[in-house]
Assembly symmetry: D2
Homo-oligomer: 375 residues x 4
């Protein structure tokens, strides 16, 4: 191999022009990428670029996608260790390449050992400023928003990082269509009130205020995951909430039991198969409370509650809750929007929405949000 | 990271069930993958799989794609060195995964240092037999068949490995549609008679008899690239030749000159812009000679000369040459088939066919070949 | 012209096997087709078929489409008069053709002179039984359900029968996808409470009980349009209501005034552009009342309120009204379903949904209803 | 019905602005439309338009399509007689409508009684000039170009006018894509040398010089069908010939016998199923002769021989014949172009190309011709 003698290492903290996507602590030495879709973005004038990553996990390894000039060119598992990954080489040193290194896997609440960090980049050229997009968007959701099922054969059933992706994800596609920067806050299996299996702690709202509060363990604490998130630093124009799918599932799942405390929880069905009113009410209250919290932190954002990629059983409850919230608060900047259901033609792996389902959702959703942004 | 204590290393040569795709020397210690689309295929019952690769190059690095249960899940650059790459981990140990590790870059005649080898696999389970497909196909071509331009933004202009791919390539898609095993023999810029820049040595037919004869250098010699290919070991049902695009380009390119010998070559245009008859005749003779050679080595294959993804200026000459060959030899198993041109909507990077162009070509071509195979 | 001497006239009332689609009075001498999508359906074994129509109007002429073996083959204006229209000729006399003659224009409340009648058929063969479909569906709506804009250039602005169609209409396409017989009750410009221009009499619910109660004039009275509809004779499995688009428009239209009585009506906007609460309440009450009426007449039908092909401004109100209705009555067989918005790519003439918009709506809606029917 | 008192009859011959499409005799009192796709085109400023047609036939009745502002709005059978057909009514009298009344059925060589004439138009406004398009194109072909199979269910087998159409025909779509006026010369079952059933008189070239020479009978003679066509009056930029499909069929059909003269003809197969060389030679000569005739009459046109919508068995012979013609004559403005084959997904009625097949063909062909026209 011919060595490129001109390569120079730049710690992230010393880069003149670096754009970081996704909620982080602000620390760049190193930068920890917590959420799916979080990324570093660079405009590089040079022939070659490497990044120094540090990957760790107990069970679930990180994946990244590399996007060059807006087109995905590589996607790979990052096995444990600290090492250099080559992003490109042999390119014309006089042209500017826009590069995004994207975490292609959600924050992993089930794996306290999981982490992905970027220490430095290595290049033979210079770094130029990266433009801000016209809008900022935040997507909050569950496995659908985590892109579970976007990759892999329909027959796949294992719950592993390989099948998750932020690329070809409705959130990414919607943001692209609207020319928006975006962040994703999502966790597979979680809901507004409970997880699919009735765990009342597995809800996004409880952890929304922290940088990445749904993680666990000392390591994540040390990484700053549990710090208060600085909402002032990044105020979105639109917040999309895609939650409710697991809350609906909970009604059909067995009781959850905390083996330690003996605490149990169960969203109950009536005998005729309809939702227990009290439990449904708890869900609706959770929606209202989350809206209140979202508004507290995102003063001017239009909030769009989307639902439908895996059915709409809780849509009446969502509409009810949003209605009550809006009447109570006078907040007018909230909408509900149904996105298309997944079909046999559009399904991906693990019975989750596939690429075609995400494309359809993004097409409808971006049309709806474009009208809001145009007002 | 939790260590998987059950992993066991298997040198390729000791694997019970291994399917190798693409022309190789037969050596497995290690296996050298020369051509794009060449691959190892495994049926693995186990939770985790790694492969030990060895990558080298002066300028142009190898890339691989990983295909699991027929779906691409990863694509990555292989920087120089000998190391382990994890294919999957954390999967259900009781299910069988079909895995293909595919060389995603053509043989690199311009880089004598380029090589990709696989030494061993590491897994915690067992390897099961891999089925043979119904048919065998060979694709012979230039940059189109090398998948140049399938990856990357339309604006990309660098001639680098990153933009090449065997995945979403018309050859791969056609073989899939027909349930065929397949091999690719291709080189960007080359033709039947000359390269796009009139180099009379940059023609595929001259090197067709060798394992990978168009490579150069002592290293490739040592790897066995220049050995006679054992045609008996793998007789295709169909040979698809997609050559002529660079031969047409040569008429519009400056003279080629061998600085060492002073030898020159130029396919000439007449003053009115039409092809010089003598030079066109040389092209047609080259087509005839290649057909003769192809028939010599592929006794029963149906040969389909395809052309058109970047225009059809030489189609009359191809038809003429095939006609003369068939009349001369009585060989009836040769066809010419035009495949759809690339348009603004279907173009990829480097002004080459993009994914949509390859899909269209595969759709038309597989329909045509299906009729031949059904006879 | 060669005369077909074997043709024999059959008054509709004397046909052994005739299937009539759409709400009618039951009279066959002649049969009056009131609603769009209403039709006669025949299975004809013979070489030639004619129908004797009688068309009349003051301003808005009827149109028909002819559907043979489920494929539209002809569409034509019916100018005033009583005359024979040839459906097919010269066909194999031994094969059975399924034929539908479809009214391709809505009931015309604005034209008391408008009528379309079928007196008889003429054929040279025999008529065979027509199968019942698996399900029965009723679609209730406005211009969208009347198929306004399905035909014609985007630039068309005239409000004329030519641009309306029951073919390529989401209702027809949904029924086809579900293998259902169907009826359409629709009127362009009308709503649940008022028309787009605030006319409180231009609402569908008020006239739902009659055969075609929204028509006017002595002629229609004589034709039986104002008779009570016999709901017992045809009980749908699913009732789709697509109303609300004009009710939303009313808020943005000037006051309506009855010149005779001096009565006025106006759905008001607040100063900030939001809907006046009282008027919105009136809309919601109208929705509830219509559901009550629908349930009265369609005892077992699942009622699906769909909305969205031209935006969703009243969706919260619809959900609220449906919610209150369901809680009040205990009726569980009601759903709300959002269908995709019309875009620049899918719009037809007169700024209404075009063929592509109707196809998309039918695809989503039929998926949703299929799940209901499968329960 | 309210009478429109302002309607005024205009014999075609007295119209200031009338555009006639298709080969005609030039006579306007009345105008006879012989070929499919032939039409009158008007720009009408008025609220209502009628045309006075005269239709006749022994067996095969004419059909028309009505195209308003480039969109088809009506399609109907014209039963025998002379009568008025309403094109539109009730439109804004101040806007200009572009209207085409298109013969939607090929010239009917098998029915000497078949004719379609237009005597006059009736309107309440004025007629404005109709623009010339950028280019002129002529399409010459068989059933494919006659649009046989574009209408109707896949199961249809009757050979009747209803299944033919000039709308959604590759010829019409190609001309639209290129902004060209166009004419069609076509006959179902016919070839360059013989018909599908070996009739050596059923070939297009023999009758190409006449207005519509392939018709028969005294009536057509009286209508001027056998007059010399005035090629000077309309010189196309491109002539597309889509012939050869029936010539290939002839090899697989029984001998043709003229019962009167005893003359027989048969294109023979060799025992191995290949084409008899002598008969194939006759086909190739017919191609060459037709090219010579086409060039004689169309001095500057680029001639494109297209083939492939129902397979390409004679493509080598077509290339050979074109090659010989070009070498012999020095004519450089001739190309051969393969268009996509019809598949299960794109087939229409009577096993002929359906709408999707015609759209695909038009897309590829218009791309190819656009490059020729851009030179």
């Amino acid at each position: 191999m011919m060595q490129n003698e001109k390569l120079k290492v730049h710690p992230l903290s010393e880069l003149d022009h670096l754009k970081v996507h996704g909620r982080t602590t602000g620390c760049l030495s190193p930068l920890t990428l917590f959420w799916t879709g979080s990324a570093i973005e660079l405009n590089v004038k040079g022939s070659e670029l490497w990044i120094e990553v540090e990957s760790d996990y107990d069970n679930y390894e990180p994946w990244i996608s590399i996007v060059i000039n807006s087109v995905p060119v590589s996607r790979q598992m990052l096995t444990a260790g600290r090492y250099w990954v080559c992003v490109f080489r042999g390119m014309n040193e006089n042209t500017v390449k826009n590069v995004r290194i994207v975490k292609d896997l959600q924050a992993m609440s089930e794996d306290p050992g999981h982490s992905l960090q970027i220490h430095a980049v290595k290049a033979d050229g210079e770094f130029l400023p990266v433009d801000e997009k016209s809008f900022k968007m935040e997507f909050i959701g569950d496995s659908i928003t985590s892109g579970e099922g976007i990759i892999g054969a329909k027959a796949e059933e294992d719950w592993i990082p390989m099948w998750f992706s932020a690329i070809n994800n409705y959130s990414t596609l919607t943001a692209e269509a609207l020319n928006a920067d975006y962040r994703i806050i999502s966790q597979s299996g979680w809901g507004v009130l409970t997880s699919w299996d009735n765990n009342p702690h597995a809800n996004i709202p409880e952890y929304y205020d922290k940088v990445c509060g749904l993680l666990t363990g000392d390591k994540n604490e040390a990484l700053g995951a549990f710090e208060e998130h600085s909402f002032d630093s990044w105020q979105p124009n639109v917040v999309v909430v895609n939650l409710g799918t697991n809350d609906a599932g909970a009604f059909h799942s067995p009781e959850w039991k905390d083996e330690g405390t003996g605490q149990t929880h169960k969203q109950r069905l009536n005998k005729d198969g309809s939702y227990n009113e009290e439990d449904l009410g708890a869900f609706e209250e959770a929606v209202q409370n989350f809206l209140t919290k979202l508004r507290k932190y995102n003063t001017n954002a239009h909030i769009v509650w989307v639902y439908g990629m895996l059915g709409i059983p809780l849509m009446p409850a969502i509409y009810r809750a949003v209605d009550i919230y809006m009447k109570k608060t006078g907040d007018k900047k909230v909408s509900v929007f149904q996105i298309p259901n997944t079909t046999d033609e559009t399904v991906g792996s693990r019975s989750h929405p596939g690429v075609l389902a995400h494309q359809k959702a993004a097409q409808e959703l971006s049309g709806f949000i474009a009208e809001i942004l145009a007002r």
